[in-house]
């Protein structure tokens, strides 16, 4: 470690704990409390990356989230590597490995640097103007463009880390733990409000906490000492929660805020195991106090991007907080007083301050006088016109500004410096305020946008420097006054506070500082990461891009990972100056969430892998698993798809299951069907209105199939409904439709038909449904329920009986979706597993065969029964399905009825459901295949498509259902199914393939 760059005077770094880390493969050391950036600087490493477009060498420029350059790849493990991490934010930990990005082969020698030489022909928007010849070549150019763009590298393996979420509710949320945030939190807790204070650092106090200056005092103590005591006092309040290492990411409407807490990123790798890495806090606050501070602005001058050019306030933080000298011979370049604080800190720490170049004519504020007392040389009214040093600043040249600031005059003065601190004033961080919908006002004396308190969208205020107060007395006094008013607090412990500080006496601002060279020969960078310069902005304006959004998009200014935190104000200023408009009228670009980039994993939390989506299971699920079922996802349900035996393929299993069901007995878990219990004196009338057919005359104990339409007349859902008693029905819906049907029916009941005395209660999970079909189904039921009279007279098809199995109530429905004689047992779910097993035992002698959804689909297709969602697609009326019989002609109205009589829904050439047989009975059509009559006609006219298709073991041939234009009239007609490799000949048939006379229902 280069000890000469480390001073040993501060409380914030633990210099007794040495931490080793690697940068670009080189082993280095830092101390506990360092950031990667401070540790690199202590090792005299400034060059950390290459810029996006020109691949220019870039160094650490800031000490916070606004860092545009020092962006590194962390780690090399393919699962845990992380791209685009700001070196200024990451806390140093044992074993940290970091790499420079966007350079090849290395940051010191980067082939992409050639772009810098080509930069004259790569102005803003150059790619819109070229790469168009030859026409087919764009993708080839694009390949190279893509590879030279991008910053870090994505991981290539799944992330092993854990993330989670936590909701929190509070009276007051304070964002930012600097002096104004700490004061705000103290006032809120004194009022007795439940308060959360969040700060992105590991240590509260912001920039005041290392502000150890005689010139700024609070109640006669140095401001840092006063603040330290205040922070200590916060610990006594039970109604305050302090979340450090937590950065506010987004401020949504209704005071809903998202904040990311980093829980393990500062720990050494072996300490992280089985811990949540990051937690997303979802906070609802009654009131929000934003104390997010401000960011120092750079100055825009020629070649202002060299490694070693650092924001002045960051240099101060590195020396005062981290004890790191950013250079041995430092110069400062400023337009305001804050650089003088840096100069004084440096000087006191024994660092040579070469010169302060100040564009102002003079200043007589206390802090300037103090600097002068220390013997620091100040060059008033000057600007830097050139900097030298490719990978690290070596020297610079300054010249005097002309009286209007538009030019430089006189001789160049050259200074040697290994670091320049720049300060262009301060930008309030109003991002969160505007994200929440707040409007800004422009304050022209400071050239800043601050919240317009008359246009605040929710219960919130901004305090401190994010509200435009930059001097300690204003910050403290205004924060106290405004927060007390905001939370209606009359008296507080701060009421007699006394603050003194140096006051700035002179201001001057030039957005684009002149050089002795013509502008086009200079490189005054605005957006350091995206390599856009002041020239680019001016070019965009010349080309007619007037709006700030146009300029931003054309030049990519403000589109980097820092989201324009450093560049937006200068871009606006240059536009205003160039076009002669007032900055306040231009307005800002939109600040979009998140305020700081948010890891996808954090946003998703625990809802990954097994928690991605729910898995709904029936009460018989474990039996299916034990019996090797393959499952199909139907909505969130897991349904047995088929039950392969002894290595059967799906086809073999389904053929076996289908035959068994028709020849003897099959058993199906149909529990996933939606079930709605309907009670009330108007239940029958209600069913009349929701189904297309009539219900009033359905006898008690009988079942009926119903079709439900959308109001636009298209088939929506179907199922069997049973009349349990005079005013009591149970309706079944499709599995996927259950929730929607219930909610739609509730909607009609509550909003359109409140006069109906009907109550709906879902019982989908209350009852499990076991369906047993086949000629032996009766024998099996007989064994399970010996005392139930199963004769066709007593218990005919489409009827139901209340019964008991082993003393447990159940409902037996004699309904059939296979065309076979069959029963459905509906039993309380907690008994279903045992009833299923009892059925299996009872059916053993009849070779009872469990079957899944695939066999169910095959068996019903043999009978021509539709499946809504498979044979229908939301564009078919009952008539299109050849189900005119189910539309009651007598009923005055039902949902969707009117739509059936529109000019295009009564057309006879609509697509209609038909059966299909292939000329080659072995040929099974592909579901989704299209049907045509004349294959040679161009363009091909498609008449319809295959909706369901199977090989029927019971008919020994391929069968299919299809939707065909004018299909009703086309029975017997030959059509072609054109596949990629061949054409298949088919004939249109009736939709019922098996047992057309329905004899088997009573077999």
């Amino acid at each position: 470690m280069s000890n000469e760059l480390r001073i040993n005077k501060n409380n914030f770094i633990d210099q007794t704990v040495r931490i080793s880390f690697k940068f670009n493969g080189k082993k280095l050391f830092g101390f506990k409390g360092d950031t990667l950036a401070s540790a690199l600087l202590a090792n005299d490493i400034h060059l950390v990356g290459r810029s996006f477009k020109y691949h220019r060498p870039r160094g650490i420029m800031t000490c916070g989230s606004e860092e545009p350059n020092a962006i590194v790849q962390i780690g090399s493990d393919p699962a845990s590597t992380e791209p685009n991490v700001r070196a200024t934010e990451i806390e140093l930990y044992e074993g940290l490995e970091a790499f420079s990005q966007n350079c090849w082969p290395s940051v010191n020698f980067d082939v992409g640097g050639i772009n810098n030489l080509l930069s004259p022909i790569l102005p803003a928007g150059f790619y819109y103007k070229t790469f168009m010849w030859p026409a087919s070549f764009w993708e080839k150019y694009e390949f190279f463009i893509r590879y030279s763009a991008g910053l870090g590298k994505s991981p290539t393996k799944a992330d092993d880390d854990l993330y989670d979420h936590q909701y929190a509710h509070c009276d007051v949320l304070v964002i930012g733990g600097g002096i104004s945030g700490v004061i705000s939190a103290k006032l809120a807790v004194e009022k007795g409000l439940d308060t959360i204070l969040i700060d992105d650092k590991n240590f509260l106090g912001g920039s005041t906490i290392y502000q150890d200056e005689e010139s700024s005092k609070i109640n006669n103590a140095n401001s840092n000492q006063w603040l330290a005591r205040e922070i200590e006092s916060l610990k006594n309040y039970k109604n305050l929660v302090i979340k450090s290492r937590t950065s506010l990411a987004a401020f949504h409407g209704y005071n809903y805020l998202l904040a990311r807490e980093a829980l393990t990123d500062h720990l050494s790798v072996h300490e992280r195991k089985n811990k949540i890495r990051q937690r997303l806090w979802k906070i609802r606050a009654q009131k929000v106090i934003i104390a997010s501070g401000s960011i120092e602005r750079p100055l825009i001058f020629n070649n202002n991007d060299r490694p070693g050019i650092i924001l002045s306030s960051s240099i101060k933080k590195y020396i005062d907080y981290f004890g790191v000298k950013t250079g041995k011979n430092i110069s400062l370049f400023t337009n305001n007083d804050s650089a003088y604080e840096t100069a004084i800190s440096l000087s006191k720490s024994g660092v040579n301050v070469n010169v302060i170049i100040d564009i102002r004519e003079n200043s007589d504020s206390n802090i300037v006088k103090e600097a002068q007392k220390l013997g620091i040389k100040i060059l008033w009214g000057h600007t830097i016109v050139e900097t030298n040093g490719y990978k690290r600043i070596k020297s610079f040249e300054a010249m005097k500004l002309s009286s209007n600031g538009g030019n430089v005059v006189g001789n160049k003065i050259k200074f040697n410096s290994d670091c320049i601190g720049i300060s262009g004033g301060w930008t309030p961080m109003v991002h969160l305020y505007t994200q929440s919908g707040g409007k800004l006002q422009f304050k022209s004396n400071d050239n800043i946008f601050i919240p317009d308190e008359t246009k605040t969208p929710s219960e919130q205020i901004s305090v401190g420097s994010c509200n435009g107060d930059f001097e300690l007395d204003d910050v403290v006094n205004n924060t106290i006054y405004n927060v007390k008013k905001f939370i209606s607090l009359d008296k507080s412990s701060y009421d007699k506070i006394n603050v003194t500080c140096s006051k700035e006496s002179s201001k001057k601002n030039i957005w684009l500082l002149p050089s002795d060279k013509p502008l086009y020969k200079t490189k005054p960078f605005l957006d350091f990461q995206n390599d856009s310069t002041a020239k680019d902005v001016k070019l965009a304006l010349r080309e007619g891009f007037k709006s700030i959004e146009h300029v931003k998009r054309y030049t990519t200014t403000g589109m980097g990972t820092d989201q324009g935190k450093l560049s937006n104000m200068h871009a606006l200023g240059i536009i205003a100056d160039t076009t002669g408009t007032n900055m306040g009228e231009l307005g800002t670009t939109t600040f979009r969430p998140p305020y700081t980039p948010l890891t996808f994993g954090t946003i998703v939390g625990r809802n990954v892998g097994k928690f991605f989506d729910h898995t709904r299971k029936t009460a018989i699920h474990n039996w299916h698993v034990d019996n090797k079922a393959e499952f199909e996802n139907v909505g969130q349900w897991k349904r047995p798809w088929y039950f392969p035996k002894n290595g059967e393929t799906m086809h073999e299993a389904v053929q076996r299951e289908s035959k068994a069901a028709r020849e003897s007995a099959g058993i199906l878990d149909a529990s996933t069907l939606g079930k709605i219990d309907i009670q009330g004196s108007d239940a029958s009338e209600f069913l009349n209105r929701v189904y297309t057919n009539a219900w009033s005359k359905l006898a008690i104990g009988k079942c009926r199939y119903g079709l439900m339409l959308n109001e636009d007349g298209m088939v929506y859902d179907d199922g069997v409904t049973t009349r349990l008693a005079e005013n009591h029905y149970i309706m079944t819906t499709t599995t996927g439709g259950a929730a929607n049907v219930l909610s739609k029916l509730e909607d009609y009941l509550q909003t359109e038909w409140p006069e109906l005395d009907v109550y709906l209660t879902t019982v989908t999970d209350q009852y499990s449904t076991i369906s047993i079909c086949g000629p032996n189904s009766k024998n099996i039921i007989k064994k399970i329920i010996p005392d139930l009279n199963l004769s066709d007279e007593n218990f005919p098809h489409m009827s139901f009986k209340n019964s008991k199995i082993d003393g447990v109530n159940c409902r037996i429905m004699r309904i059939s979706f296979t065309g076979e004689h069959s029963y459905e047992i509906n039993i309380q779910s907690n008994y279903a597993n045992d009833v299923w097993k009892a059925c299996m035992d009872a059916g053993k002698e009849f070779n009872i065969t469990p079957y899944g959804t695939e066999t169910m689909h095959l068996l019903r297709a043999e009978k021509g029964f539709i499946i809504t969602g498979q044979d229908t697609d939301g564009t078919l009326t009952p008539s299109d399905l050849q189900m005119d019989w189910i539309i009651s002609k007598k009923k005055y109205d039902f949902i969707g009825k009117r739509s059936l009589y529109r000019s295009d829904t009564i057309r006879e050439d609509r697509k209609q459901l038909v059966g299909l047989l292939t000329d080659d009975p072995k040929e099974v059509l592909e579901e989704g295949a299209q049907l045509v009559e004349d294959i040679n006609k161009k363009p091909v006219e498609m008449l319809g498509h295959v909706t369901s298709s199977y090989y029927s073991p019971n008919l020994n041939k391929s069968i299919a259902l299809a939707i065909v234009k004018s299909g009703k009239k086309m029975k017997g007609k030959k059509l072609i199914v054109p596949m990629e490799e061949k054409n298949i000949n088919v004939t249109i048939t009736d939709t019922v393939f098996y047992d057309k006379e329905n004899k088997r229902l009573n077999a």
């Binding site: 609802r284 898995t615 009460a619 009670q679 209350q766 009852y767 447990v808 907690n830």
Partner: protein, 187 residues
């Protein structure tokens, strides 16, 4: 003999939190907007259905939860109540309310699975995925909440300080159980 197979049948303990699937109890859903309904219920259960939103009423045998202006859930607290009682109660309610068009009575004993959560951190656990502000809820014994936990519909009944019952639909119960256990292990 048919066995009663509730889905979880388990109890887990974590740092300051205990999660149990309660033994199955009677749960009956009640719907009505009729005037006499309340009196009828009072007669049968010896408790009146609460009219105030998000509250419950109860005695030593039953809790009666408000679900909406015309919907309540009654569940038995008495573990020893057997299957027969369940049928008896359902029958009685059905005959005296539904049959005479005074509302609807639906047995939902197996529709809902009942979890009990106890301990200092149960609200920290729920708020990992539930946006509800429990500040008032947890102070008020007997309060009732219908909301979502990890995107699953639940009914939550505050038994007493840091002790609550949570109803979840049977088909989602295993999934929610997994999530609760996972989250509890990180508290």
């Amino acid at each position: 003999m048919l066995n009663f197979n509730s889905p979880i049948q388990n109890e887990k303990k974590y740092n300051e939190i205990k999660i149990t699937e309660l033994e199955p109890t009677i749960k009956i859903n009640l719907r009505s907007n009729k005037r006499e309904f309340s009196t009828k219920i009072g007669k049968i259960l010896s408790i009146l259905p609460p009219t105030e939103a998000n509250t419950s009423s109860g005695n030593e045998n039953y809790s009666l939860l408000w679900l909406s202006p015309d919907e309540w859930l009654v569940y038995s607290k008495n573990k020893n109540q057997n299957f027969k009682d369940q049928i008896e109660l359902e029958k009685k309610l059905f005959n005296e309310i539904s049959k005479i068009n005074q509302g609807a009575v639906t047995n939902v004993s197996d529709h809902w699975v009942l979890f009990n959560l106890k301990g200092n951190k149960i609200y920290d656990l729920l708020t990992k995925s539930c946006p509800f502000d429990f500040n008032e809820f947890k102070k008020k014994k007997g309060s009732v909440l219908q909301t979502i936990v990890n995107h699953i519909d639940v009914i939550i009944h505050n038994n007493e300080n840091n002790d609550l019952n949570l109803f979840v639909r049977r088909s989602f119960s295993e999934d929610l159980w997994l999530w609760i256990n996972d989250s509890a292990s990180f508290l």
